[in-house]
């Protein structure tokens, strides 16, 4: 007879427990209640959703169809209102009474709301679930938000919103941020990094009242009288286990629902897992122990002996650009000693707390590459007396076999979690390796380990190394893709030295493992070949990403955006009229000015592209290449034409540069700007190539960025005349085209080869580089819109239209 299992709560713990249960082939008839109207998603990934690095769909771990395929009866959006343990029944919100053989609590926790005056105003929220995240995402740039709480959750909320342009202030009651995980010095570095992201941080700040207007939050008042205006107030000060239902059912409850080592509550037929649980005095908020609990609960339900053991925990902050690690206990105490390492210039800080030759705690900021090794020392209580002198420098400085960093990984048990984002244990990775996944990519695609935030990549490689022994070589540089073991640099060298002028030749000579490459290597090879052999190689549209194949940007709904070129940012009333007419004629829903001084027509249907292009061409405009890994814009200020500070004709130089460089394909997009004076109105110092005009000439600098990374350019050279500036820019562009790895912006390439090398090459090979650039431009400086309107318009139409066929 199949037993009835009722689970209350569809969170990460019960999701994992059901997975373990079904993996083990358990014969339970499962009914799942969840107060939230949905299945299980990876709650710890809400931060990347907030910051826009992931979408909600990408963090769903168990959707309705998963439950369905495992025969689980889902009652989403329904609460349990009562439990009768004597009769072994639960009562649902709608009055249904269901009986159970086993009951599992996974009720999670509630965010703690400080009962400040005004805490019930509209716009005061916690950071707990998808609804809260959505509220923060909907806030929009230029709005103000106050986050109360400078802990892990509060800072992730603040950084996520700041990334979306919200004006964020963090209010923290303690003297430094994340005081439970960090010491003061690391807290200071973290604060500095957050302030650099534009976040205002107030520590030692006591909130006294939330002020509102018409029931809506308006500001937070601190006890020193300061008022912090806000449109949204997020309280992220902690969580409390949700124990009400368990308490009402008469189970033993302390801070959380009491469970024993088998996750059984004070009632032998009732189990509990996750954040609602109290085990041996501790409650749980991190994912690793919660997955351990899920495994133990599943085994208990299968009548397999298992025991939950609390382990050392470590913390990493999921905020891009803040590399931070903390583990163990680093409080001051009798008999404890510190080893501290600081490198202010690099923003690196490390502190180890030692007690009786054992590492008790570690805090690392700025460079956390050795964190797994230190964590291993803490967990294994390794005697460090022999290596104390060099301990702080990490495993690389420890000689001899016993200090092999792999030893720590080898000693990990099979159930040790390696990838926190996806909850992948060492054992699952070992199993994947045993069934043929012998490199990082294969492990990633079969287990999803290291596939999300990627911080565990090094650890996954170490598991590979430990498991495969000599068969695994930690890759010195990543290969282009699974089709080859060669790196981008190797392949570029082969193409030049062996004079490989076709893709087939590259596949043959470099030993490609696939018949015709893949979506990763083909676009790279296509670029390398056309950059190196402009006269011999024929561009392959089928090896280009759709944007470059169809010369427009694909949008999320499959429509495209069209951006005509505006040389140096200059346009005319006639051009504007033509753009407006085109927008009307093709029903363009959104007309937007881009960050690069151009007009973007968004939402054009793929079939209409040739027609809208023809219209824009007829008005004298050409493709803006806004879709390309090529020259995009040359942004300008008005320079001497109108500006009282302008030193040179910056608009004129911008137009000249754009007319010389347009159409050129480059390893990644290429953006330029020319500012007429050091006030830098065109923001030339965060472009790939920037020119600042000064009285004595033109300062050319390279390697700026304002995308995933924000970087300032570095000076390449200063020249006295416009012509020399144009020549130098052509030379450095060509050098970049000939040498950089596909999809590396100039700054990444510059970091690899060094600015000095670039200067030297431009200096000595300048004219030759310019000559090669011109040869390439003689082929590629053309308007792809006009070309496609003339020769390929028909390709944009459906192959056939059966929609008129009668469907009897």
């Amino acid at each position: 007879m199949t037993q009835k299992l009722i689970v209350i709560g569809a969170g990460m713990a019960t999701g994992r427990m059901l997975e373990d249960l079904f993996d083990a082939g358990a014969a339970y008839d499962v009914t799942l209640f969840n107060a939230e109207p949905r299945g299980n998603y990876n709650r710890i990934m809400l931060s990347p959703v907030l910051s826009g690095e992931k979408t909600y769909d990408e963090i769903v771990t168990h959707d309705a169809s998963w439950y369905e395929s495992h025969g689980v009866t889902c009652r989403f959006g329904e609460r349990i209102v009562a439990i009768d343990r004597a009769a072994k029944t639960v009562t649902a919100q709608n009055g249904d009474v269901l009986s159970y053989d086993k009951l599992v609590f996974g009720t999670g926790s509630n965010p703690f709301m400080i009962p400040l005056p005004g805490h019930d105003l509209n716009g005061v929220i916690a950071y707990r679930d998808l609804e809260d995240t959505q509220r923060m995402m909907d806030l929009g740039p230029a709005h103000k938000c106050v986050v109360i709480g400078g802990g892990l959750l509060g800072l992730e909320a603040a950084a996520g919103m700041a990334a979306r342009g919200v004006d964020v202030t963090v209010v923290h009651i303690m003297g430094h941020l994340m005081e439970r995980q960090l010491d003061e010095a690391a807290g200071y570095l973290l604060r500095k990094a957050l302030v650099d992201k534009g976040i205002t941080v107030k520590c030692s700040a006591n909130s006294s009242e939330i002020l509102g207007e018409n029931g809506q939050v308006r500001a937070l008042r601190l006890d020193d009288g300061t008022e912090l205006p806000c449109d949204l107030l997020v309280m992220a000060v902690g969580i409390r286990p949700n124990v009400k239902l368990a308490q009402d059912a008469g189970l033993m409850v302390g801070r959380g629902v009491h469970v024993d080592d088998q996750m059984v509550t004070s009632d032998a037929d009732v189990l509990a897992v996750g954040e609602c649980v109290e085990h041996d005095g501790a409650i749980f908020g991190l994912v690793a122990p919660l997955y351990d609990q899920a495994r133990v609960a599943a085994q208990t339900l299968m009548n397999t002996p298992a025991q939950f053991v609390q382990k050392e925990l470590s913390t990493k902050l999921k905020v891009t650009g803040c590399d931070l690690f903390s583990a163990g206990d680093f409080a001051d105490a009798e008999g404890r000693e510190d080893i501290v390492f600081r490198d202010p210039a690099r923003g690196v800080y490390r502190r180890l707390v030692i007690e009786e030759n054992v590492v008790k705690g570690a805090v690392m900021y700025g460079d956390t590459s050795d964190s797994n090794w230190f964590f291993g020392l803490i967990r294994d209580k390794t005697d460090i007396s022999e290596m104390r002198d060099t301990l702080i420098f990490g495993p690389a400085f420890q000689g001899g076999a016993p200090l092999d960093p792999l030893a720590a990984v080898a000693a990990l048990p099979r159930d040790a979690e390696i990838c926190g984002c996806n909850g992948i244990c060492k054992g699952q990775i070992e199993d994947a390796i045993a069934t043929g996944a012998t490199d990082l990519g294969a492990v990633r695609s079969t287990t999803k380990a290291s596939g999300s935030c990627g911080t565990c990549t090094g650890l996954v490689e170490q598991v590979l190394a430990v498991t495969l022994g000599d068969d695994f070589v930690v890759p010195a540089a990543a290969s282009i893709c699974g089709c080859t073991d060669m790196t981008h640099e190797d392949v570029r060298r082969m193409i030049k030295s062996q004079k490989l002028t076709s893709m087939a030749a590259v596949w043959q000579e470099c030993g490609w493992k696939t018949s015709c490459g893949c979506h990763l290597c083909r676009p790279a090879l296509n670029f390398y070949l056309l950059a190196d052999w402009p006269l011999d190689y024929k561009d392959d549209p089928q090896s280009r990403f759709i944007n470059e194949r169809k010369h427009a940007n694909i949008q999320k709904d499959g429509t495209f955006s069209v951006v005509p070129r505006m040389w140096g940012g200059i346009t005319t009333p006639d051009e504007l009229r033509a753009i407006a007419d085109a927008a009307d004629r093709y029903g363009v829903p959104t007309v937007k000015v881009t960050g690069g001084q151009r007009i973007d027509l968004l939402g054009v249907r793929g079939e209409d592209l040739p027609d809208i292009w023809a219209d824009l061409n007829a008005a004298g405009m050409v493709s803006g290449h806004a879709y390309s890994k090529g020259l995009r814009t040359v942004k300008t200020c008005v320079g001497t034409d109108h500006c009282r500070f302008g030193t040179q004709d910056s608009t004129g130089l911008g137009i000249k540069l754009e007319k010389e460089l347009w159409g050129s394909w480059t390893p990644h997009k290429l953006k330029l700007a020319v500012s007429g004076c050091p006030r830098n109105c065109a923001e030339a110092t965060c472009k790939d190539i920037g020119v600042i005009c000064v009285d004595s000439g033109y300062q050319i600098s390279i390697g700026g960025a304002a995308g995933m990374d924000v970087r300032e350019t570095e000076l390449l050279m200063q020249v006295p005349t416009e012509q020399e500036a144009i020549e130098a820019i052509k030379a450095v562009t060509q050098l970049y085209r000939e040498n950089a790895k596909y999809l590396d912006r100039i700054y990444k390439w510059k970091d690899k080869v060094g600015l000095e090398w670039i200067k030297e090459r431009v200096d000595t090979d300048g004219p030759a580089l310019v000559a090669r650039f011109e040869i390439s431009q003689s082929i590629y400086r053309k308007d792809p819109w006009a070309d496609h309107v003339e020769t390929k318009a028909q390709r944009y139409q459906p192959l056939a239209n059966l929609s008129l066929e009668a469907a009897e």
């Binding site: 696939t514 015709c516 979506h519 083909r522 089928q542 990403f545 694909i554 192959l799």
Partner: protein, 115 residues
């Protein structure tokens, strides 16, 4: 018995490329591989309904242009760790012409496959 319908000459679909065919219930993508085989699939990735006809075709797979899911042209299954499937339809080349199965396309219409 298949009920083949002549769609277009093979060369109208680029080598390692795709075109779409409009039907009363959304678009079907017709793919041509490097070895001149043709495949017909719903033109909507199981992930976010990305237009597969705009993807890069490699081997007997296509990579969705929106988020790089790799879909098998033979089975319609998402490859690697991704889960999901696209409906596939009989397709063949005969005398240099691409043929699709009318009955299957109609069955699709009645099954109400989303566009």
């Amino acid at each position: 018995m298949n009920d083949w319908i002549d769609i277009a000459p093979l060369e109208d679909v680029p080598l390692r490329g795709a075109r779409m065919v409009k039907t009363p219930l959304g678009c079907v993508a017709v793919f041509r591989t490097a070895s001149h085989e043709v495949f017909a699939l719903d033109n909507a990735c199981p992930h976010k309904a990305g237009p597969l006809a705009e993807g890069i075709v490699h081997g007997k797979s296509v990579t969705c242009p929106l988020h790089n899911w790799v879909i098998s042209l033979e089975t319609g299954e998402a490859q690697g760790a991704d889960d999901g499937r696209v409906a596939t339809y009989p397709a063949k080349v005969s005398d240099g012409r691409i043929l699709l199965d009318r009955a299957f396309l109609r069955a699709r219409a009645t099954a109400g496959v989303p566009a």
